[in-house]
């Protein structure tokens, strides 16, 4: 069988269980695809030995009849996840050479369910960015192209999105603090879900902004997202914010029936000067859900406008605190010191050399908003606005709304290097439709919904009620079926 790397998780699982394919064969197909895709710069640490060993073990397990859904499925792991004995450096120079002695809970759960790790995936440094251009490994490249123009796969989970879209793996892990799963999914024609805050354990994932960070799967289909999410989530005593709730069988909830569901269309997301193609796609998505029996309701989320500025206070504040641990003492890079340099110079030189410009900027702005005299004016005010943003959603859900439909991004993928001259705030605008979901702790999914005039994928976002990922996936599955999106990038790499 050819092109095994192009299978979905569901297809591969069924073939594996029927004995029609082996995990070793699937894994070898993916390793060959990775080998041939150096130009995409998606995989930055390759682990073929681990992959082959785990695929053999998976085959034995399947043969013994003990095979969870993810058993034998080759996946990529974002570089933000600590993986034992394998470089895990959050795409930062400051973690150069760091090989964790432990495994993150999420990657351990995938491993224990039999999933096969192919290697580590490119990303923005410390997950701070929307274009994968802040990576110490250099940027990943979108397999979708606009003529000769090379495009960003989005960020921060850009390597994950590029790898899934280019069929280098069947699926990948991502993380999402302000849109880092959903924006790259939208830019690459793939599916990405950020679950409710607390669904996935954060233990062993390099922290960016702890009150916003969540891991999630990046896949080729909604069904695959349901299968992989189930393997990733669950209570973990090592993360005190992880929810002690049963994990449902998400896949069984993809019934195709959304009759009577109320889908909210928030008027504040219809912004001045919005891309007309995005507006048309959004309207079309609403129409499709209506045709499937849902009721479309106009709603208001009045504090939407303030989500980005609140996010850019809270996330850097938490980052400045989380990243204080990179001091050149316990792990990673340490600067060479001059004569007479003491401990302060050790910290200051190490951090200046180890952090890239965007990370430095965010650590410093976070330091500023937390500093004496500004804490109330910026940080506390932002946390109050966050309360109001969450309240907007609570009121919509209390009024009977089941899910909310919005665009995933303000545009299709932009060209690499095109934002270099823009001020940092311009790049932040990429998160305008996604960041509210993190602030409110809700589940959100990006589903590919069509191509723009340039032939590039566009995504729609569905936002669900807390802990109701199953219902959210069901609606996303209906939307996916209705749009019939099957386009793939043509291979140039």
């Amino acid at each position: 069988m050819s092109d095994l790397n192009k299978l979905t998780i569901a297809e591969a699982r069924d073939l594996l269980r029927a004995g029609d394919v082996t995990s070793v064969a699937l894994t070898e197909a993916c390793l060959a695809a990775i080998e041939g895709a150096g130009k995409l710069n998606a995989f930055v640490h390759h682990t073929p030995d681990i992959a082959l060993e785990r695929s053999k073990a998976a085959d034995a397990r399947i043969e013994a009849g003990d095979a969870p859904a993810m058993c034998g499925i080759p996946v990529g792991i974002k570089d933000l996840f600590c993986t034992v004995g394998v470089p895990s450096q959050a795409a930062s120079r400051i973690l150069e050479g760091f090989k964790p002695e432990y495994e993150s809970t999420v990657s351990a759960q995938l491993r224990d369910s039999g999933a096969v790790m192919l290697g580590k995936l490119n990303m923005d440094e410390f997950a701070m960015g929307s274009s994968n251009e802040s990576s110490v490994y250099g940027n990943a490249v979108n397999p979708w192209k606009d003529g000769a123009r090379e495009l960003t796969p989005g960020g921060s989970s850009g390597g994950s999105a590029a790898a899934v879209a280019a069929d280098l793996c069947l699926a990948a892990t991502g993380t999402d603090t302000g849109g880092s799963i959903r924006q790259p999914a939208a830019f690459t024609g793939t599916v990405g879900i950020k679950p409710t805050y607390g669904r996935c354990s954060r233990w062993g994932i390099v922290a960016f902004a702890s009150s916003l960070d969540q891991a999630g799967p990046m896949t080729k289909t909604v069904r695959d997202a349901a299968i992989m999410l189930e393997a990733m989530c669950g209570h973990d005593p090592k993360d005190s914010t992880s929810a002690d709730l049963p994990v449902p069988d998400f896949e069984s909830m993809l019934t195709g029936d959304i009759r009577g569901q109320k889908i909210g269309i928030p008027r504040e997301y219809r912004m001045d000067g919005m891309n007309a193609e995005i507006v048309a796609l959004w309207d079309k998505g609403a129409e499709m859900l209506r045709d499937a029996g849902a009721e479309i309701v106009d709603i208001s989320l009045p504090h939407t406008k303030y989500a980005l500025p609140a996010y850019y206070v809270i996330a850097p504040a938490e980052a400045s605190s989380n990243l204080a641990r990179y001091d050149g003492v316990r792990y990673g890079h340490r600067a060479k010191l001059g004569p007479g340099d003491g401990i302060t110079q050790l910290y200051e030189k190490t951090r200046a050399e180890g952090f890239g410009p965007e990370v430095q900027r965010r650590v410093m702005i976070g330091t500023y908003v937390l500093s004496a005299g500004f804490y109330d004016a910026y940080y506390n005010r932002a946390r109050k606005v966050r309360t109001l943003i969450k309240r907007d959603f609570e009121q919509a859900f209390a009024a009977g709304i089941d899910a909310i439909l919005t665009p995933a991004t303000p545009s299709s993928a932009f060209g690499l290097g095109e934002m270099a001259e823009a001020d940092p705030v311009q790049m932040y605008l990429n998160d305008v439709f996604t960041v509210t979901v993190n602030l409110a702790g809700l589940p959100g999914i990006s589903v590919p919904a069509g191509l723009d005039a340039k032939g590039l994928p566009l995504g729609l976002q569905l936002i669900g009620r807390p802990w109701e990922e199953g219902a959210l996936l069901r609606t996303a599955h209906v939307l996916e079926s209705a749009t019939g999106f099957v386009s793939k990038p043509s291979k140039w790499w």
Binding site: P309, R330, R334, Y378
Partner: protein, 96 residues
């Protein structure tokens, strides 16, 4: 419009323990000013009587026994240190 001056930029860099050469301070001050100006939109919001969010999902922190659950792994803990000697992390002289 917020204006961060060079002294404030220098102070923030020091608080963040990031060495910023003097010639880079004007650009840093300008970037910080741009970001703060963006954040100041928050001043338009009426937050009177609103509690600052402490937890995005209503939850009580779990309790557990205050007991030792793990340990005795000195070599593992030091394995990634840039400079470890005799079972310790080594740093430049801290006290004169």
């Amino acid at each position: 419009m917020s204006e961060i001056d060079l002294d404030t930029a220098r102070k923030v860099a020091h608080l963040a323990r990031i060495a910023v050469p003097d010639e880079n301070l004007p650009a840093l001050a300008q970037e910080l000013s741009q970001m703060l100006t963006f954040m100041e939109q928050l001043n338009e919001v009426d937050v009177e009587g609103v509690e600052p969010m402490t937890s995005v999902t209503p939850m009580r922190l779990k309790r557990r026994l205050d007991g030792v659950t793990d340990g005795d792994m000195q070599a593992k803990i030091l394995s990634n240190a840039p400079d470890a000697r005799e079972g310790f992390f080594a740093v430049p002289k801290v006290v004169e």
